[in-house]
Amino acid sequence: MTDKKKTTIILFSGDYDKAMAAYIIANGAAAYDHEVTIFHTFWGLNALRKDNQVPVKKGFMEKMFGKMMPRGVDKMGLSKMNYLGMGPKMIKNVMKKHNAMPLPDLVNMAQEQEVKLLACTMTMDLLGLQKEELLDNIDYGGVAAYVGDSEDANITLFI
């Protein structure tokens, strides 16, 4: 079919720094003309959440999960040196100083570069996340979708 190279990334983590690594690699691979897929599962799903509250019907547990988890990449904490939210503020300042692209912009850039953002539907159910709460123009699937994209991939990473 295509002779394009492929990169697939599993984003399992919901930390700002780890998501940033995933999205930088995804954008870099897209610039190499790779077909890129990021499979978001568990805490990584939070990267796909819209930053506003979306009214959807939920049970008690699902509501609690929804409140406790970050709504989108910009609200994520750091995996190290989070210091109750001071860490992310500091790193964002440092990033600005060094002209590094903020994580929300990296997500937009990935969508612009046609990186396939895939949300794991099984863990969406576990965490009580619904399609309406996630970004538009993303894909939904499970392990088979990920393996399908990865079996002929040149690079695959778990972050």
Binding site: I24, G28, A30, A31
Partner: protein, 75 residues
């Protein structure tokens, strides 16, 4: 060296120089030369590897102060 296009990627951090270079090279024709100016210290390895992978030729690179300059011939 005659470049048909100059990309100013100064001040940009990883991965933007590569993302912008890819966009810029899509806008020129095969055999034409793209000139890239960058200040990211990783740009030299990045652009050399990127050009090689795409079959493009990195004709020359220089450093003037903090600014790294590259000339890439599109394949």
């Amino acid at each position: 060296m005659e470049s048909v296009k100059v990309l100013d990627a100064k001040g940009l951090a990883c991965p933007m120089p590569i993302v912008k270079t890819r966009k810029a090279i899509q806008e020129i024709n095969a055999g034409e030369i793209l000139e890239v100016h960058a200040t990211d210290k990783g740009a030299k390895s990045d652009l050399a590897a990127w050009a090689k992978s795409g079959g493009h030729e990195l004709l020359k690179d220089t450093q003037e102060g903090d600014v790294l300059k590259f000339w890439i011939k599109k394949a």
